[in-house]
Amino acid sequence: MNGLFFLLAAAALAALEPQPLDVLRKSLEPSVASYDGRMILETFPQTGAAAKQMRVRFLNPGHYRRELLDASGKPLQIIVSDGKSEWVYDKTQNKVWQGQAPDGDYKQFGWEQEYDLLTANYDVRMASSPPVARRRAWALELLSRRDGKIQRRIWVDKKNGLILQSRIFQSDGRLVSTARFASIQFPKKQDPALFRFEPPEGATVVKRLEPDYLALDQAKSASGLEPKLPLWLPSGYVFESLNVLAQGGKKVIHYRFSDGINVLSLFQCPARTRLNFGAKASRRFRLASGPATLAWTSEGHVLGWSSQGSKFVLISPLDSSTLRHVAESLP
């Protein structure tokens, strides 16, 4: 009798648990909860590891203040947004970068399209879920449908859908970074002055890149270049949008591809330009069209090469042989 009772109770509890896709959807919706917390950010490069601490305040809608703290808890860098503009202040340099806040509206895909792309490329399943920052959470795992490898693990607050912890894995399954709340509160009121920024006296103020998007048929008129898109893309990736950057009086097309989580960028530069890799670790790389340069950065691989007079650069966390395949498929 007791056994039957427990069985029925377990079935009832399971019925109450939401489906993984419902939790994912909830986590992707813009946060309505205002909060004030402390985050631990860790990165795990191939050698060594690094951890940073950040004070994070959010005021709905779209206002945020993030302070990167030093070991004694004092802010080193401050990032403030009133929902439209964003200021990044580096105390050590007394320098301010001003630009637009990151916004999903600066792309062609809407929220629904992006959700569809993500769920087409990733399996989502529930995992064991210990509390994070003393908050009850659902844990989700996102596994690539290409190779079944885990790409993300996220912990979603059961009450308000806020992502309390993220773990990011590389395409080979290696953990590369984590971001988690060590503590969090949801105050009813926050001082609005925290979300405004006035550059301090004597600070240098510079304008940042402005995010924007164009459709493919606008590329030629905006850049003067004959657009060239790869004929092959890694499984699950689609062309999302492009942007035209101005660099030293030259126009560069930035093609943006996505699989719903990761980004693949292709840059097309005018003829007779030289790619400046700076001091990045790099090596020579051979493509069917000729020599190329392959560099490694925290964003993944950077592949630069020439083709039919133009210079191209690919940036992606994907492996170098996949990038070669993309590069060699350019018409």
Binding site: L209, I261, E299, G304
Partner: protein, 147 residues
């Protein structure tokens, strides 16, 4: 490895663009090759000299004043040059021409150069708009956006 195979690598090394693997190869070769050491030294000297002559843009008003002053001076004979032997004048003219060509080439290289860092910043700016992007991670590293 032969010297001629290393020529390109020497230039990349002087520009700080050789990979660690290439650096090991090159340094091993340089140990036993005085000719390549001399060539590398030459690359590095040229690079330093060109960096020195590539100064920031002169403000328009200062430029105008300097040009006017130069024009006034040109109208008067320069005693030092008048007294200098023909050989010295020729050498000076030749050095100036070489420097001018070097500066012109360096400036055109700079003008034609596009920074991969700016592309990485654009890539990261876009990545910030992706679903499930832990923005704090990107924002915690200034260099990822503000290159």
């Amino acid at each position: 490895m032969e010297c001629r195979e290393l020529k390109e690598l020497l230039s990349a090394y002087a520009d700080g663009q050789a990979s660690s693997e290439e650096q090991v190869l090159l340094l091993a070769h340089l140990e036993g090759c005085p000719a390549c050491r001399r060539e590398l030294k030459l690359f590095q000297t040229m690079k330093t000299a060109l960096r020195r002559v590539c100064s920031p843009a002169v403000p328009a008003d200062l430029r105008a004043a300097l040009l006017a002053q130069a024009a006034r001076r040109r109208s008067k004979p320069t005693p030092w040059l008048k007294r200098a032997p023909v050989g010295v004048g020729f050498s000076l003219a030749f050095a100036a021409a070489v420097l001018a060509i070097g500066v012109e080439q360096f400036e055109s290289r700079q003008a034609d150069s596009i920074s991969v860092d700016a592309m990485l910043a654009a890539h990261n700016e876009y990545a910030l708009t992706m679903p499930l992007c832990p923005q704090e991670l990107v924002l915690s590293d200034l260099s990822m956006r503000l290159r």
